[in-house]
């Protein structure tokens, strides 16, 4: 199809999104990723029955952690699409890149400067 999508996306392949761990998502944020999204199979079509549902729960858990850390939870998302939906894949990639760009760089790489306390 030779579809083009945002060059900001780095793809990490896993055999099933059920393999994605909370730590994979957290470590990406920790290492300075502006955002991470998981692209799983369509709901109900997981070859391993519920891998994509497990991934969604993990994404939701990471969102809660980010919220606790006062980082925008939207930096982590889950999408469902089939491997036959190339156009949708490109659309999501552009959508995510756009959304993250609107949020700005991750506060992990651009620390909040703490105001000095008054003497």
């Amino acid at each position: 199809m030779r579809l083009s999508y945002s060059a900001d996306i780095k793809i990490i392949q896993v055999p099933c999104t059920g393999r994605v761990d909370i730590l994979h998502l957290l470590n990406a944020i920790e290492d300075g990723a502006d955002g991470v999204y998981v692209a799983g199979c369509l709901e109900g079509e997981c070859h391993y029955i519920e891998g994509n549902f497990k991934a969604r729960r993990k994404v939701d858990h990471v969102k809660k952690i980010l919220l606790e850390l006062k980082i925008e939870p939207e930096r982590v998302e889950m999408y469902n699409l089939s491997s036959a939906q190339g156009a949708r894949f490109a659309q999501i990639a552009n959508e995510v890149a756009e959304k993250i760009r609107a949020l700005g760089p991750t506060p992990v790489r651009t620390p909040t400067v703490q105001k000095p306390t008054a003497p």
Partner: protein, 225 residues
């Protein structure tokens, strides 16, 4: 097992606010089983704290380790070489862990990352319930195997109070009235008569009311077995 809940990240971050290098110490005992202080939880806390501190521009250097148990000195001793390499140590064990650590390593600071809640078990994945109050004089056989001390809000020993309604405790709508369950179970077994007798006063000196407790097994102390 002992059940615990992790403290909020805000609380934990406040504890180590001035530290630059810490150790997060997990435990392979009860807290691993109740998914609060095992290796996975240690790694998640580590990453979360690192993110938070990077965000503040004050990166935190964190090492991790998981002991077999933090409630046994032989395992706590494994830290003897490294414990003073850190500004502080976060223990993810139950309240016993940080105390054993503090007793062995007098100059190090040990922060509790979890709130120890009760003795209980998992009734379903992700849900733990209290089953034992550690009163020191177990008599659950008298109550159909269901403990009214741990599971009745008033620890009543002679039947339900007036706050029992349709099997639910007045204290909390999510709590079953354990006396309702005890009576039903005994009725179904045709053993209701067992509950009719007047029980003697319970000896609470074996419970916390008698102060901190100690269990001594002479044969083990003497090394005979």
């Amino acid at each position: 097992m002992i059940v615990a809940d992790r403290k909020s990240l805000e609380e934990i971050l406040a504890m180590v606010a001035d530290n630059k290098k810490i150790l997060i110490l997990g435990c392979k005992g009860c807290v691993t089983v109740c998914n609060v202080g095992g290796l996975k939880e240690v790694e998640i806390l580590t990453s979360s704290l690192k993110i938070a501190r990077k965000k503040l521009g004050k990166p935190l250097d964190i090492d991790i380790q998981v002991l077999e148990r933090q409630c046994d000195n032989e395992y706590v001793a494994e830290l003897s070489e490294s414990v003073n390499d850190y500004d502080g140590v976060i223990s993810m064990a139950c309240g016993v862990g940080p105390q054993f650590l503090s007793e062995m390593y007098k100059t190090q600071v040990f922060y509790p990352a979890v709130n120890t809640t009760f003795f209980g078990g998992a009734t379903q994945h992700g849900v733990w319930e209290e089953r034992c109050a550690g009163c020191g004089t177990c008599g659950i056989h008298m109550f159909g195997g269901l403990c009214p001390i741990a599971r009745c809000a008033k620890s009543l020993l002679h039947g339900p109070c007036g706050g029992s309604s349709e099997g639910i405790c007045e204290v909390n709508a999510d709590t079953e009235c354990i006396w309702d369950s005890i009576v039903k179970k005994k009725m179904e077994a045709g053993q209701l008569e067992d509950l009719m007798g007047v029980k003697g006063l319970k000896d609470w000196t074996t419970a916390r009311d008698g102060g901190p407790r100690r269990s001594i097994r002479e044969e083990l102390v003497q090394g005979k077995i």
